[in-house]
């Protein structure tokens, strides 16, 4: 299981940021060839990110590259980047399943022999993309996640973006629903005021409550706050342990039914408990408060 609590954008034409990308402790780093790069510097960023993928140490962070949209030289990005062995490609402005299948085919053609398959994360940031979210999520086995880009999305709606985010609640829930139905990760939109630590904390807690597995980050200072919000708490780990214990006891007694804290444990509850313990184990978190 790959944990993606935080996915931190690193500008693709900034050598200082790229060479330090591994020190911020983000679960994923997104080396950005799109919005963070001036149109006249796309060629330079492509070369720099290619070299960074081969030579820079990104520690334990998953290496993701945000390419440009297919109608803005995205295919050139795929051909250059994929042989340098990123873990995943983040496709901006993903709108249709056909587009995902096209990208998957281009990735397959660019991969070297024996290379670990490069995954796809679809960035949903248009009304059409959101309307097609489930089809996009199920378009190809390489798709491992959907991410929300709320700034472009609300611009597409003609809605006003607010700190509270009421205008994106429906989008958030539709995306969580689509990703959950497809059994893949779902990552929340970035909190764009990098100086507002309290704001990013509140927004991250809300996103987790809504079902997101992680959040995009635009500044290294957001990483720790996001991790705190998306890591299982001691109380949650304790609950998960009690659920698994109750299930084991019920099974030993020949019963398929059990309850914890007065609530029946059914399959979704059991799955949630198992995921909580799996995440806690991967993160090296201590056992919970039962």
């Amino acid at each position: 299981m790959t944990i993606r609590r935080s996915m931190l954008f690193i500008p693709g034409n900034n050598p200082g940021m790229l060479q330090n990308g591994g020190v911020f402790g983000a679960d994923s780093v997104i080396l950005d060839l799109e919005d963070a790069v001036a149109p006249t510097e796309k060629d330079a960023a492509r070369r720099l990110v290619s070299m960074a993928l081969i030579h820079a140490d990104f520690g334990k962070s998953e290496k993701v590259v945000r390419i440009n949209p297919l109608d803005c030289n995205g295919s050139v990005d795929i051909a250059a980047i994929v042989p340098c062995r990123p873990d995943a490609i983040l496709l901006p402005k993903a709108q249709t399943a056909a587009e995902i299948r096209d990208v998957a085919a281009q990735i397959a053609a660019a991969e070297a022999e024996g290379q670990e398959p490069v995954k796809i994360i679809a960035l949903i940031e248009t009304p059409r993309g959101l309307a097609n979210a489930l089809e996009i999520a199920e378009a190809h086995p390489r798709v491992v996640g959907l991410a929300l880009g709320a700034e472009d999305y609300t611009a597409g709606l003609g809605a006003t973006r607010s700190k509270e985010g009421g205008e994106i609640l429906t989008a958030r829930m539709l995306l969580v629903n689509a990703a959950s139905a497809a059994g893949i990760d779902v990552i929340d939109t970035p909190f764009t005021d990098a100086a507002d630590d309290e704001g990013v904390a509140e927004d991250s807690v809300l996103a987790r409550k809504l079902g997101f597995k992680g959040k995009l980050a635009i500044n290294p200072r957001q990483v720790d706050v996001i991790h705190e919000a998306f890591s299982p708490s001691s109380k949650e780990i304790g609950w998960a342990e009690r659920v698994i214990e109750a299930l084991a006891q019920a099974e030993a007694q020949g019963s398929g039914v059990c309850s914890v804290d007065g609530k029946m444990v059914d399959a979704p509850i059991a799955n949630r408990a198992r995921r909580t313990l799996e995440v806690a184990k991967i993160l090296g978190l201590k056992m919970g408060d039962k």
Partner: protein, 91 residues
Amino acid sequence: MKTAQAGTLESSDILITVVPQEAGSGIRIEIDSIVSLQYGEAIQAVIADTLAEAGVADMLVKAMDRGALDCTIKARLMTALDRARANGGNV
């Protein structure tokens, strides 16, 4: 090929200018670096190796280094060469 440039003067970067020369002129590399005493020869070697890999035999390379790693030097030089070859350079 035309004169072309890539990179910046920001920390950890390098600004590279390539100036095509007449056949038979060979390679000339001029380095201005904040770490030239310690790494001047290493920077020179990265540039020379990258030119050789790209099959470039006659070129003046001017490099203003601000502490770039080898992979950054190589990326910037390759971009400058791409630009020199395409669209008649960018300088």
